[in-house]
Amino acid sequence: MLKKTKDREERFNEEYPILFPIIYRVSYRITGDEAISEDLCHEAFIKYYERHEPLPDINQAKYWLIRVVKNMSLNYEKKRMREKNAVSKLEKITPQYMESTEKEVLKEETKIVVQEALDKLPYKLRVVLVFKEYAQLNYKEIGAILGISEGNVKVRIFRARERLEKILKEESAYVSEG
């Protein structure tokens, strides 16, 4: 029993430095928030650490963790959408004030343009593209994690790229104008 926990700890210590950057990256690209990504990683790795049955290899561990993060990030996304709706309601009430501050923010933070564009993607498209670009998963693996077909993954990734192109073009035009 003691040996078992020792083995598990050893394995965890080996895998953690390899897996953490990937899981953190995926979390960050889905949520766009460093603190929340850290929380997601924390919860996901604790769940992984406390898992009773060990996963066969590090790749399986990676899929498992990504799936956990994805499930948890959905809750965060719902909360964010509620807040966003509240903000857009506020925007309707005081349109001019919000517009000017938004412009200022954009001017200051042109560096994180890509992440902002990702944030604007619908959740379903964003998750698929993030899995492809930041977790280096292939269509089959993405389909397995999300429970959708490979064909569906292909369509979603393309739609995500199309949408992202549009958003980036709009944003760069907006920034250069201001």
Partner: protein
């Protein structure tokens, strides 16, 4: 014919099957429009991949410490519980499933056999009653002149022979306890008559 944008996107991801990959490659070398689209999608993929990211190392260390703390606290917690030593009636007992099944089976057999023997005891008691009936004959006194019946059989014979009715007094042994056993012979006899 030019491929759909969707196919080009899959090509960027290396997700096009082998015969089509070569065909697409050939097409890109001929068609400037599709080649431009390919370049666009490729550069977009590169833009995402090389976008600046927050440094993960501080988060990595913080989370690791928290997990380590969490697990050590947990094991410490369970250690403390063991030190406390709950009184035995409050302690949890883990019984493995096979053992639990065995235990219930044994209990069932015990109960079943208990009731089985109880049933046997009842029949034994009934037998005893019969013995009592056989060994201690009922005292019968018939107040008729010149007649004395010492036991039931004599009395029945008497009643059979002489065609008359007579008040009969029967005394049963005082200490006898009765259970119902067999057919009431005497009563039946009387009814037949």
């Amino acid at each position: 014919m030019c491929p759909k944008d969707e196919i080009i996107s899959a090509y960027v991801d290396g997700e096009v099957e082998t015969p089509w990959t070569e065909k697409l490659k050939a097409h890109f070398s001929e068609c400037a429009k599709c080649k431009a689209r390919l370049k666009e999608l490729q550069s977009m993929s590169q833009l995402l991949k090389h976008d600046k990211e927050p440094d993960f190392k501080p988060a990595l260390n913080r989370v690791y410490k928290r997990i380590y703390f969490h697990s050590s606290e947990k094991s410490l917690g369970s250690g403390r519980q063991q030190e406390k030593e709950l009184p035995f009636w409050k302690r949890r007992v883990h019984i493995p499933m096979p053992a639990a099944v065995m235990l219930s089976v044994v209990l069932f057999i015990l109960f079943a056999s208990f009731f089985f023997f109880m049933g046997q005891n009842n029949t034994q008691m009934a037998n005893k009653g019969q013995e009592l009936y056989n060994t201690q004959p009922i005292q019968v006194t018939v107040p008729i002149e010149g007649l004395e019946a010492k036991d039931l059989e004599v009395l029945l014979k008497l009643l059979n022979n002489k065609d008359f009715s007579q008040e009969v007094l029967m005394e049963l042994p005082e200490d006898s306890q009765f259970t119902v056993f067999g057919e009431p012979e005497f009563g039946d006899c009387a009814i037949d008559k």
